[in-house]
Subunit: 212 residues, 2 copies
DNA sequence: TCGAACTGCCTAACATAGTTAGGAGAATGC
DNA sequence: GCATTCTCCTAACTATGTTAGGCAGTTCGA
């Protein structure tokens, strides 16, 4: 009986169309920004009439949702790849995490905007799409814990700082390298203040900045 | 000759209508969010037909622009009032600045969203409306300088951190008091790392936190 | 004071969004 | 082979910001 095989083929074709629509949406997001995405343009790109898109997505927001899930899943994978193996020096690890986060956002500002879903009016990710974002955050807490940062507040502060730095970079100096300089200094400050324990780092004590 | 007096009266009436429109816009922004503002609703509130609004504003974005300018002017005044006189203890001053910033944003999230103009698709403030924002930033640099923070990077990091903390608060814990706790810890970290000099603070030495 | 110019509002209409209704034709399944 | 399902279509609807053009009251100069 070929029923199951056929069913598979159908599902695949359906999935392919879905991906085609999402790819068109991504291309458009990168050209004109996330808010500039238009069902008509997406439809034209994939060779459909706008209402036909509704055979694949419930609404425009559902398309955003799929893109949101895409992004966080990709980011999760990206982080996993970069953090294996984890650097042994805490300060290096912290910088690496920041660098990954930064590269990921600067490489594709549209994606970054989408991942900060609050910047898109009317869009709220579904619980399912939100899950990878939560997992990444948990992974962060875990990683910091392994490096000796057990105070949750310190982690939250670090995340805030990182988000703020990236926003400032994208807003004031897109294409420049302001982020690197600020990150360098911020990491030092954080380390000096005990945010990053010196546990495995012998060199850190010799590097401590003199107080005026 | 009454010409000039008449001209004044006309200008006043015109300004009053303009204010009425902006008030309606603000009310609506607080009810349904900045993105939810609708010319039709504004017009209904002030008792006009939508196209009539164009006698007072060039476009919807022009209304946003006026609201943006309003906000930053109010903030500038707010800051000036709170920082006069400037606390003598640097750490207190830093916390006060953060507190003012936070109160101002939490008291009126719609206003905060507007001040972060990048969160509103298609809106870019005019140079004139942007000026107060620049002045406030300069004022911040100046104030920090008077407190002994001469490294511009340290100031930028502080601003990033503050923005990140507020965003995190508004996103994860609206109505809660997460911000206070994180701010406390962040200020300490910053001070310990030398971001806040102990220069003018004699009491500071007695208050210095013990390092574990 | 009279007529011209201006001002502030109006109605009608338009362009562009997202979205719904309903159907036609091909693919699929018993 | 026939009923069902699926995918796409056209037509139309609603809501948005915006433009065109006009009309009545007000202001202002000769």
């Amino acid at each position: 009986m070929l029923g199951s095989s056929n069913r598979n083929r159908i599902a695949e074709r359906r999935e392919a169309t879905r991906r085609e629509i999402l790819d068109a949406a991504w291309r458009q997001a990168r050209e004109v920004g996330v808010a500039g995405i238009t069902l008509r343009d997406i439809a034209r790109t994939v060779g459909m009439q706008p209402p036909s898109l509704y055979s694949h997505f419930d609404s425009k927001l559902a398309i955003y949702d799929a893109m949101y899930a895409d992004s966080w899943l990709a980011y999760e994978e990206h982080v996993s790849r970069e953090l294996d193996p984890l650097p042994t020096h805490p300060r290096d690890a912290i910088r690496l995490i920041a660098r990954v986060f930064f590269d990921f956002s600067v490489a594709d500002p549209a994606r970054y905007q989408l991942m900060n879903h609050r910047t898109i009016p009317g869009f709220e990710p579904t619980a399912e799409s939100y899950a990878p974002a939560v997992r990444v955050l948990e992974r962060g807490v875990e990683t910091f814990g392994a490096l000796g940062v057990t105070d949750r507040a310190d982690f939250d502060i670090w995340v805030s700082l990182l988000g703020g730095l990236i926003d400032q970079q994208l807003a004031n100096d897109p294409g420049g390298d302001r982020f690197s300089r600020l990150l360098e200094r911020a990491t030092d400050m954080w380390a000096d203040a005990g945010g990053i324990p010196h546990r495995t780092a012998r060199r850190a004590s010799t590097k401590r900045r003199a107080r005026p």
